[in-house]
Amino acid sequence: MAVGKSPVRGWRSRLFAAGTCLFLGIFVGTALLFIAADILYVDKKAVMTVLTSGFIRQALWMSVWTSFTTTALALLFAVPMGYALSRYRFPGHLLADTIVDLPIVFPPLVAGLTLLVFFHQTAVGRWIERAGFEFAFQPRGIVLCQFVVSASFAIRSVKSAFDDVDRRLENVALTLGYTQWGSFFRVSLPLVRGGIIAGGALTLARAFGTFAPLLIFVGSFRGRTEVLPTTIFLEQSVGNLEVALAVALLLIGVATVCLVIMRLVGGRAVVQQ
C-alpha cells in the first residue's frame, strides 16, 4: 500500500492504513457507481447517435483543441508567473497572489458574465473587438473562458513547485558561470517539471469540463461554439437524456485518457528527478 519501502506493520498500523483507504474506497466506489448508472441508462441507439453525429464529432474536436490550447496558454503564463510569485517580493505581491486564486473561488458563471460585460460594456473591451479580436460568441472565446476559469490551477501548482526548489541550487548555478536565464532554464525549470505537468493536468481537466461561462459568453451554436459540455446541455434540454448521458460518458472517457497520460508522463518526470 505504501510507496517504496515500508516499515514493519503490526495490527495498529494495518488498522490505520485500512481506515485511510476506507475513505478512498468510498469516494472512488461512489464515483464509479455514478458512472455505472450512466452506462446502464444509455441505450445502443444513443451510443450510435454519438458515434455517427457530425455535430458531436465537431463538438468533441472543439473541446479537445480548445482545452489543449488553453492548457498550453495557461502553462505559458504559469511558469513565469509562478517563478515571480515564488522568488520575488514586491509591492502588491499579496494582492497579486490573491487575485491568482480568485477564479478558483468565484462561480464559473460569473466568469462568463464578467467577460460579456467587459467586451460589450467597456471602452477597452469594445476597442479590442473593433481591433479585430472578437471573442464573444467565437471559438476563441471558448479558449478565453476556459483560460479564465482554469489558469489559476496551473499557476498555483507551478508556484508551489518553484517554492520547493532550493534557492541555493540556483545560486550555485550563478556562481558556476550561468546568468539568471541560464540558471532558470538549466536548474529551476527541469526541477519543476512535475509541478508543470500536475498543473497542466488540473488545467486540462477544468478546461475540458467548463460549461457555465461558455453558455453566457460564447453561446452554444451547433458547429461553431459547441463543445461537449454544451452538447450535453443542448441534448438534455430537448429531452434526449440518453444521448446527453452518452456524450457525458464520451467526455469522461476522453478526459480520463488525457489525465492518465499526463499523470504517467508526470510520474516518469518525477521519478527521473
Binding site: 532550493d166 541555493r168 541550487l169 545560486n171 550555485v172 548555478a173 550563478l174 556562481t175 558556476l176 558561470g177 550561468y178 546568468t179 539568471q180 541560464g182 538549466r186 536548474v187 527541469p190 526541477l191 527521473q272 528527478q273
Partner: protein, 351 residues
C-alpha cells in the same frame, strides 16, 4: 590576490562589517565564528549573491564589486553542497564547463580529471540522491574546482558530515587546495577544523572581524575574553594585577598568578589548558606558577586526559594531562604549574 575593502552589508537588524581582508594568492583562509555571526552572509557577499552596501571586492586584480556572480570567477560550495538532483554526478561536475561552451569531449576529460583528483571517478554515473555525505562533498568540491576558479569559497564544508569523518575530510580539503593552489576561504564554527586547514584565520563576531592571525596566534593570544572562551582556550580568569619585579602579579581568590605582560588593575587573562602541567609531586623544573590543587573532574580527550582541578575555593583550572587516567581519582591532590609566559592578559582591561 583577493581583497575585500571596507565591506558593509545590512539585512534586517543584522549588520555585517565593516570588514577588510587581504588574501595572498594560494592562501587557505578560514573565517571562524559562532552561528549567526555573519560568516555565510560575508561569503555570499563575496560571491555576489548579496549586493554589498559599500566597499570594494577585488578578485585577481579585477574589481568585481558590481559584477554578477557568473562573471566573478569564483567556485562556491554551499552548506549541504546543493548538488543538482536532476543531474548525474558527471553532469553535476561538468555543469560549469557547459556554461563556458566547452566541447563535450573536453568537458568529459576535465570532469574525469577532477573526479580522479578527488577519488570519485567510480561515482560519475551515479545520482546525487544515492551518495553519502562525504561523497556529496567531494562532488560539490569537484564541481567548484573544475572551472579553475580564482577563489574557492567553502561554506561550512564539513559541518554536514559525521564527526569522525570531519578531520579526515579537512585533511583532504587541505591536500586538494595545496595541489591546485587555489586561494580558498572556508567558513566554519569549529576551531579544531580550522587548525587542520587554515594558513590564517579571521574571527568573526556579530558581523565584525575581531582578530586575524594564524591558528596558533589566535589560540595563544585571543583578542579578548569572548574570543578566549569561543576558542576553548581552557582557562579564562579575572583578577587584580600589579607589577612585581619583572613580572605582573595577578591576585584572585587568595592566589597569586604571575604573568610576563605588564598590566595594572583589574584584568582578565587566559591560560591554554595544554600549557598547564599536572603532576603528583612538585615539578622538578621551577615554574613561575605552581599551585596545589584537588582533582574535581577527569575525562578522556585522546591522547590527553582533561583534568579539572580546584586551586582555590572558587577557582578551577583546566589542564590536558598525560598522566594515566586511573591514577587521577576524583579528590586526589595534584600540583598544577605553568610558566608566566603561558598567562595571556586579555585586551580591554588593565593598563
Amino acid at each position: 590576490m583577493i581583497s575585500a575593502k571596507a565591506i558593509r552589508f545590512a539585512v534586517g537588524d543584522f549588520r555585517l562589517g565593516e570588514i577588510s581582508l587581504e588574501l595572498p594568492l594560494g592562501e587557505y583562509f578560514v573565517i571562524l565564528g559562532s552561528p549567526g555571526s555573519g560568516k555565510s552572509l560575508f561569503l555570499e557577499c563575496l560571491c555576489g549573491l548579496n549586493r554589498i552596501d559599500s566597499g570594494r571586492i577585488i578578485i585577481g586584480g579585477r574589481d568585481v564589486t558590481d559584477l554578477e556572480p557568473c562573471d566573478r570567477g569564483i567556485g562556491y560550495v554551499p552548506q549541504d553542497y546543493a548538488l543538482f538532483p536532476h543531474l548525474s554526478v558527471a553532469q553535476n561536475i561538468g555543469f560549469g564547463l557547459r556554461a563556458r561552451g566547452l566541447p563535450p569531449a573536453k568537458i568529459s576529460e576535465k570532469v574525469g580529471g577532477a573526479a580522479d583528483q578527488l577519488g570519485i571517478g567510480h561515482l560519475l554515473d551515479r545520482w546525487p540522491s544515492g551518495l553519502s555525505g562525504g561523497e556529496k562533498q567531494r562532488v560539490a568540491l569537484a564541481r567548484a574546482l573544475v572551472v579553475d576558479p580564482k577563489i574557492l569559497l567553502l561554506d561550512e564544508p564539513v559541518s554536514a558530515l559525521d564527526e569522525a569523518l570531519r578531520a579526515e575530510v579537512c585533511l583532504e580539503l587541505k591536500r586538494v587546495q595545496r595541489e591546485t593552489g587555489t586561494t580558498t576561504i572556508h567558513v566554519c564554527h569549529n576551531f579544531e577544523e580550522t587548525r587542520i586547514v587554515a594558513d590564517r584565520v579571521g574571527l568573526l563576531r556579530a558581523g565584525r572581524l575581531v582578530q586575524v592571525g594564524t591558528p596558533g596566534e589566535l589560540f595563544d593570544r585571543p583578542a579578548d575574553t569572548e574570543a578566549a572562551r569561543f576558542l576553548r582556550v581552557g582557562n579564562v580568569l579575572s583578577g587584580e594585577a600589579e607589577r612585581c619585579d619583572q613580572l605582573t602579579r595577578i591576585t584572585l581568590d587568595g592566589l597569586s598568578i604571575y604573568a610576563v605582560k605588564p598590566a595594572c588593575g583589574p584584568v582578565s587573562f587566559a591560560i591554554r589548558a595544554d600549557r598547564v602541567l599536572v603532576t603528583f609531586e612538585p615539578p622538578a623544573t621551577q615554574s613561575e606558577n605552581c599551585l596545589e590543587a584537588q582533582v574535581v573532574s577527569v575525562s578522556p580527550r585522546d591522547p590527553y586526559v582533561r583534568v579539572e582541578a580546584t586551586v582555590a575555593p572558587a577557582t578551577h583550572l583546566v589542564a590536558f594531562a598525560t598522566l594515566p587516567m586511573n591514577r587521577l581519582a576524583l579528590g586526589s591532590r595534584v600540583y598544577v604549574s605553568f610558566p608566566a609566559s603561558a598567562v595571556h592578559i586579555l585586551a580591554g582591561e588593565g593598563s
